[in-house]
Amino acid sequence: MTRHLESPRLGRRQLLKLGIGAGAAGLVPLTGLAANTVTTQARIVILGGGAAGMAMANRLAMRLSGARITVVEPRELHHYQPGWTLVAAGVWQPDRTLRANADFMPRGIDWIRQPAVGVDAELRRVSLADGSVAEYDFLVVATGLQLNYHLIDGMSPELIGRHGIGSVYTSLEAATRTRDAIDTWLGQGGGQGLFTAAPTPVKCAGAPLKMAFTTLSRIKDTGRRDAFNLDYLTPGTALFSQPWINDFLKQRFDDEGIRRRHYYRLSAIDPGAKQAEFTFIGPASEFTSHHELRQEEFGREGEMTEVMDYDFIHVVPPMSAPDFIRESDLIARLGPFRGEWLDTDIHTLQHNHYPEVFGIGDVIGAPINKTAASVKAQAPVVEANLVAQLQGQALPARHNGYTSCPLITDIGKAMLVEFGYDNDMAFLPSFSFIDPKEESWAAWVLKDYLLQPAYYAMLEGRV
């Protein structure tokens, strides 16, 4: 079964003609592009209806007249994932992070409620789980990423919430069970906590740190701080990508008595014995929090390992693009993201080999940027550049790598850390009155009350 058979597949020359109705010519500033509606009959498929996919669906639906836009998204519920750390910290009730996808899906688009299972970039076809295909003239890859718990021997998502295992990344249910596991540990009155970081790029790279800080905050509230030991084990030298914040965090961990252990990768877990095995990677590997470890590099022979007992462990799994993207022609073949992430230009967000393909969100190969805040910055860039590509124009917009981490350093205060990958991860503060180097109540209130509304406005393409 093929979807959109009524529409002939367009060649590159025909694609150029699609933009004739736009009335725009040459290099148009981003703001100018945003003001114009473009008439086109192009078929646009958006893979994924998460933060990135939904924002693009709304933006393109508003921007393009006559386009046939399809969103491939099997889930009916939309999860506000940035709230999961607050759920796991016991600050938010779980249902506060849930909305219906239908609340945000724009009118006039085709919503395919099933998963994509393959992409043929040469034929411009997306394969769907029911065996049908969706053909496209332009493709926006916004699939999000895949959690590879299977790369940790003995670990599976089903274990979260049992045997002292927590992991905030998997799902709302897992975040809730992580909260329960922390409650259980606190109820024991003491013991060993292990907080891990992943040997791959991860979404919300601040989440492992937030889990350590919020748990420490709750430990302090018990009045038995000395009875709890906290270790933070990370594969690299850094705790955070932004250099100033990295130094700050290292000092804070030392001040708070959280033992930092660098070059350790969680390689196996024995839930019954409450033991975790870490592989010592060694300083020669020069890992950072967003280093380049790929699956084939896991489990090398002869590596030194260390087994540690725990009463609670927060597991951060290795992550990658979804398997069906990794198995497609769209995956990076060279460079640091080869074999694992979508091959996009990190500034234009256009695919490096297929100009009709754009990437946005967690799936792209970029040194940082796997946050909802990044999507907010990326969405207008993808919109402008896709429309320009549709019109045969030079791509006018450039993403500076903006990302934001409302870094919770205690329950009740946070740092609004905004930066980009240009200029050595320079700060890019949105508000002149909030210093990214300061912990503040205002940043906490922003995180607790205002960032979720901003996220929903972003989904609607309104910010």
């Binding site: 905004e418 205002a442 406005a457 609607e460």
Partner: protein
């Protein structure tokens, strides 16, 4: 990352609704107190009530304690100039609102008095 005016309004369209019942209740209380008081001859320039002013002051000062707690935080975490500006502004707002409600109410209870 900058927000346009339209963007700010879009964010507020999601941020305000959960608090709308509370906002409307407070506004209703204010309007009813002022309206009923004025219908009974209340004029805030002609009526003085020290207890209302003291309670309003206490309400404002207490805001410094309860507002951070209401947001899941604590006064000790109010640290930056922005934090204090926001908290003091909120305290002033609570004090003013309390006074604007209590002042006409006290007039209704105590009746007209000479300054």
């Amino acid at each position: 990352m900058q927000f346009s005016l339209a963007g700010i309004l879009a964010v507020l369209s999601h941020a305000v609704p959960p608090f709308l019942p509370l906002i409307l209740a407070i506004l209703a209380l204010l309007v009813v107190a002022q309206l009923v008081g004025r219908l009974r001859g209340y004029r805030f320039t002609d009526y003085h009530c020290r207890p209302a002013a003291i309670i309003a002051l206490l309400a404002g000062v207490s805001t410094l304690w309860w507002l951070p707690r209401l947001t899941g935080s604590q006064l000790a975490f109010v640290a930056t100039a922005t934090d204090w500006a926001a908290l003091v502004a909120a305290a002033l707002g609570v004090a003013l609102l309390t006074w604007l409600v209590l002042h006409p109410l006290s007039y209704l209870v105590r009746g007209p008095r000479r300054p």
